[in-house]
């Protein structure tokens, strides 16, 4: 259970990084990635995955 970022559509704005409650998102080689080991899909934390809710490009999706 984890989310991923479709890098081709990502605008590298960083909105997701700021919202992730698990610090699972980081910038690697100019693109944001989600660490599947840390991602909880925000279950038990919020109504919906925060990265997907804030992403302007709608590119945070289930892995």
């Amino acid at each position: 259970m984890a989310y991923k970022i479709k890098s081709a559509e990502c605008t590298v704005c960083g909105a997701c990084e700021a919202e992730c409650p698990n610090l699972a998102i980081s910038l690697k080689k100019g693109t944001y990635i989600i660490d599947p080991a840390k991602c909880t899909e925000c279950e038990g934390q919020f109504d919906s995955p925060q990265c997907a809710a804030v992403c302007p490009a709608d590119c945070c999706v289930p892995a």
Binding site: T11, C13, G14, A15, E17, A18, E19, F46, A53, P56
Partner: protein, 515 residues
């Protein structure tokens, strides 16, 4: 780089060192007391805050430069006129940048620009996303460093307002005394046609709920700014058929909550931008539609008419963009210092010029008020200028014309029109000339430092009088002198009383042509 403005060109030869001891201005220093208020029209502490800020004072925009640092790429709302995926250096409009900067890079860029451009007085953060989204982390990190390294530069931000109530206290602590909020509606029914969604309180909201939350946060944020003594400018995008008439209500509501200035901007819409409005064929307003709405709002919150809708990484005087000179690569290689001596000298000079300018404008205004009948309708004149309130640009080199309305009541700046440069490398381009004609078609005359014989004839045929007899003179005084003679001709039946033509608003030319 075609649009570099040398200090001498702005000030006039030898003026930088000229001693001035003119008496202080009195009475109404701006000719129309409308878009260009001066020290007599506001409290001294407010004048102190705005007098050197090109975006908050029409007068200052002739003398001072601003730069935006693009440290805030994240956003917390989606607007139908914005496409966050699109970032092309051939575009010049809000929300668009070529390079995103880290706070450290931004600070180095500011110091580099400050030592090259002594007119620099303001550092703004305007995105390319929202400056307060993602906790405002990058914006505040930038302000933290700048407030120590360049304390003479004013700091300002622009925001959609959603996160603003959470940050007013912090802005106050960094001495940010100018905040711009983009407010396009005060009614969620209108708002849902502009904002498809917002992200607030860990949730994506859509439809009317989203617009309602955004509206309430914007009003709360504005009220908090007013209480904190921070000047608020309101930007509104005029979207014909959606919020055009509604913006009068927006004007009234923001005035009630203490907004200092209201800036109504035309929607920039093109399918190539990939925005919702661009793709669905939503049009922007014409020049006269925009002006009519702005005129209807006069008497409410004061209107700003000199906005150039600049990029989130713009550098220079309004109307120019020297961003290309300060790319990350070039800045990394530059030696920068924190010495502010030249900026100081420049500001002292402008300060001494101000009183003289106010007197001279007032004298010209008084003469027209006494000698010209109020029956003569006001006219618009287009002006080719490089800044410094002078007619100092060649017709063929102008990339924009400033528009002044001049009549019995005085002369005032009412806007600008971007054009394609007519003369590139010595020969005239007829396609470009037709775009110039369309852009200033509602004007009775165009004031230039110089103009060739061919465009002169075309302008005359279109009913726009080319005037080069005021070359290098001050704009407002020249406009008033011209109007006096024009009124004379009207009374003799030699000129029409008023112009009823409309003009076309175009977005900026591609940056590629500017290099």
């Amino acid at each position: 780089m075609g649009n570099v403005i040398k200090l001498d060109g702005i000030l006039g030869v030898g003026e930088l060192k000229a001693a001035t001891d003119a008496p202080p201005a009195s009475g109404c220093t701006s000719s129309a007391c409308g878009s260009s208020d001066g020290p007599a029209d506001m409290a001294p502490e407010v004048w102190e805050k705005v007098k050197n800020h090109p975006c908050y004072s029409e007068e200052a925009h002739h003398y001072f430069a601003r730069m935006h640092v693009a440290v805030a790429p994240a956003c917390n709302i989606q607007c139908n006129y914005c496409n966050r995926k699109y970032d092309c250096s051939n575009e010049s409009r809000p929300g668009v940048v070529s390079e995103k900067l880290t706070p450290e890079q931004a600070v180095k860029k500011v110091l580099a620009v400050a030592q090259e451009i002594p007119q620099l007085s303001v550092i703004g953060i305007a995105g390319p996303g929202d400056s307060l989204a993602a906790g405002g982390k990058n914006s505040f990190a930038t302000f933290e460093m700048l407030s120590k390294l360049a304390p003479d530069l004013k700091l300002c931000i622009s925001t959609n307002g959603l996160a603003l109530p959470d940050h007013v206290e912090r802005l106050k602590n960094y001495n940010v005394d100018h905040v711009t909020i983009t407010i396009n509606m005060v009614d969620p029914e209108v708002g849902e046609r502009i904002y498809p969604w917002i992200f607030h309180n860990h949730k994506r909201w859509t439809g009317r709920d989203a617009a309602k939350i955004l509206h309430e946060r914007q009003m709360l944020g504005l009220e908090m700014l007013t209480s904190a003594g921070i000047l608020a400018k309101i930007n509104s995008v005029m979207i014909p058929g959606i919020n055009d008439e509604h913006l009068m209500e927006v004007n009234a509501q923001v005035k009630k909550r203490g907004a200092f200035l209201h800036n109504i901007m035309p929607l920039i819409s093109d399918p190539a931008h990939g925005t919702h409005f661009g793709l669905t064929g939503q049009r922007g307003p014409t020049a006269q539609e925009l002006k009519v709405l702005q005129d209807k709002c006069e008497g409410g919150a004061k209107l700003m008419r000199h906005c150039r809708q600049c990029r989130a990484d713009a550098v220079g005087l309004l109307g120019e963009d020297r961003g290309d000179e300060f790319t990350i690569d070039r800045i990394e290689a530059m030696e920068v210092s924190t010495d502010d001596a030249v900026r100081k000298t420049y500001r002292e000079h402008v300060e001494s010029e101000r009183a003289k300018r106010a007197e001279s404008k007032e004298a010209a205004r008084a003469e027209v008020a006494e000698t010209v009948s109020a029956e003569v309708k006001p006219i618009l004149v287009a002006v080719a200028t490089k800044g410094g309130e002078r007619i100092n640009e060649h017709f063929g080199h102008a990339r924009e014309f400033q528009i002044y309305e001049v009549g019995h009541a005085g002369a005032k700046f009412v806007g600008h029109r971007r054009v394609e440069q007519y003369c590139e490398g010595g020969s005239g381009d007829d396609d470009a000339l037709s775009t110039v004609l369309a852009a200033i078609n509602d004007c009775a005359a165009v004031f230039v430092a110089k103009i060739g014989g061919c465009p002169k004839k075309t302008l005359e045929a279109a009913g726009i009088e080319p005037v080069d007899s005021y070359a290098f003179e001050y704009i407002e005084e020249s406009a008033l002198t011209y109007f006096k003679a024009y009124a004379e001709r009207v009374s003799q039946g030699l000129a029409p009383n008023g112009v009823t033509r409309d003009a076309v608003i175009r977005p900026a030319e591609p940056a590629a042509l500017r290099a």
